[in-house]
């Protein structure tokens, strides 16, 4: 493994200053489950790494899950296990808690953090689709300032996080789902446990009193460089009452858009039917509370 200096900063401002000073040659250590694998495999990304800045001294401050009125504030160092078991997340964002419960293995969930999952920017990251579906905001700490950014604007066209030198993410603010909203998260991996996702879908449906859908969010993961909402399929659902035909056509629309944007690749023969089925399951689950049709 490459030699580097390991620094524990005194406060968050010092973290920003160190990141700014060492910019290209530094990285942040949160859970380490991605970083250690990349270092072990001598990833080119860290070929010039000299400084590792540990965030653990701020564990108490950065691993809180708080209720701040209409939203939840989730600290960047919350592990997947903490999110999965949090009463607040279970109650107000059940799809996020489901997504965190299927990340890697129990050991990985005990170490890996939600901040790491978002900043490593893997399109296969499990918590990303639910966070984007719920319109999460990021709290970012820079040298001498703090700012907020929408998670949906956080990645550039190459899928890398847009962070200026010295900036790092300290928390996520995610709106609470309303009682009229139903959500679901489904994942397809190569095997049941410990598989990196092949495909995931997060869905939030807001129902009106007459049973029609007022607003929908459909976010597939692992398709394309960026995880984002599939607006065309969402618009098809709005104003309609869920039915077998509606769900099938919305699922077909998601797959069509995926193929139109990413082109046909070697994996399309597999992803095309798999994505359609997965979107159907997610919509069924959000509409009827079961993945299989009633």
């Amino acid at each position: 493994m490459r030699n580097f200096t390991f620094i524990k900063a005194q406060d968050l401002e010092e973290v920003s200053q160190l990141l700014f000073a060492h910019h290209e040659h530094s990285c942040i250590l949160a859970g380490g489950t991605d970083l250690l694998v990349q270092l072990h495999e001598k990833s080119k990304r860290w070929a010039e790494l000299d400084v590792v800045i540990d965030l653990h001294p701020f564990q108490a401050e950065l691993s809180q899950i708080e209720d701040i009125g209409s939203a939840l504030r989730i600290g960047t160092l919350c592990t997947h296990t903490e999110i999965e078991r949090s009463f607040l997340v279970n109650r107000y964002l059940p799809l996020l808690s489901k997504a965190c419960s299927v990340v890697g293995s129990p050991q990985i969930r005990n170490m890996g953090t939600v901040g790491g999952a978002v900043c490593n920017a893997s399109p296969a990251s499990d918590p990303l689709p639910p966070l984007i579906a719920a319109g999460a905001e990021l709290a970012i700490h820079g040298c001498g300032y703090r700012r907020k950014a929408l998670l949906s604007d956080f990645y550039d066209d190459m899928g890398m996080p847009k962070l200026e030198p010295g900036e790092f993410v300290t928390a996520f603010e995610v709106r609470k789902l309303q009682p009229s909203e139903r959500s679901s998260f489904v994942k397809l991996g190569r095997r049941k446990a410990l598989a990196i996702s092949r495909l995931t879908v997060a869905v939030i449906l807001d129902f009106q009193k007459d049973g029609t859908i007022r607003e929908a969010a459909v976010v597939p993961g692992c398709v394309g460089r960026r995880v984002k909402r599939y607006r065309q399929a969402e618009l098809m659902l709005c104003g309609q009452r869920p039915s077998e035909a509606l769900i099938a056509s919305a699922a077909a629309q998601v797959t069509e858009q995926m193929l139109a944007e990413n082109g046909r690749r070697w994996s399309s023969a597999y992803k095309e039917p798999a994505l359609t089925a997965l979107v159907e399951r997610a919509l069924n689950s959000a509409s009827y509370g079961a993945e299989d049709r009633l």
Partner: protein, 200 residues
């Protein structure tokens, strides 16, 4: 700034201090510096669970943990959950259920199971499966291991601890062994190498 760091943490109940290079993993330090070789290195990328240890009461893979992040934490290895003359209930149950073949993965399974039982002394079969889903075993199959841990939990909940620590037969916790101990060791003699050579 140097590449060396000093780390203080609790290891199997004792406070320890180590000065080492910052790019070493907890796994390297446990095996090479403390000679706690019960923690095994399998895949080195957190997939197999052979290097599982308990840090702050949670099972983690020590191959994905830099030694620097252990500062102030409580680390328990397989050597810390039992002693050679007294196995912990999970280990006994694994022996009784014959849930071992080569044994390489076993310390990892014991640590995952111990972490589960610390948190949830009465797990369901399903909960055990989830807790062990980060550990791979390539010889035994998982049923015996899951059965063993379920059994260990059931026994621990049922029996008075004084009962199962009687130490009559140390490895079985005083319960009768499910198989007859062999009086004479069976000796396997390898035949000469000629036959094998002909085959190849």
């Amino acid at each position: 700034m140097s590449e060396n760091i000093e780390v203080n943490f609790r290891l199997n109940g004792e406070n320890v201090t180590i000065r080492t290079k910052a790019n070493r993993r907890l796994l390297d330090v446990l095996r090479d510096d403390f000679h706690l070789t019960g923690t095994k290195e399998g895949c080195s990328i957190g997939e197999c669970g052979a290097c599982t240890v308990i840090v702050d009461r949670k099972a983690v893979t020590s191959c994905l943990m830099l030694i620097g992040s252990c500062e102030g934490r409580d680390v328990i290895t397989i050597e810390g959950v039992s002693s050679p003359d007294r196995l912990n209930p999970v280990q006994r149950a694994i022996l009784e259920h014959q849930a071992i073949q080569c044994g390489f993965c076993t310390p990892g399974f014991v640590m995952s199971a111990t972490a589960l039982l610390m948190e949830n002394p009465n797990p369901t079969y399903e909960e055990i499966k989830v807790a062990l889903s980060g550990n791979l075993c390539r010889c035994t199959g998982y049923k015996q291991i899951i059965d063993a841990i379920y059994d260990a939990a059931q026994q621990a909940n049922r029996a008075d601890p004084a009962e199962w620590d009687r130490n009559i037969i140390p490895d079985s916790g005083g319960r009768p062994l499910p198989w007859q101990p062999l009086n004479k060791p069976e000796v396997c003699e390898l035949s000469g190498g000629n036959e094998n050579e002909e085959q190849s």
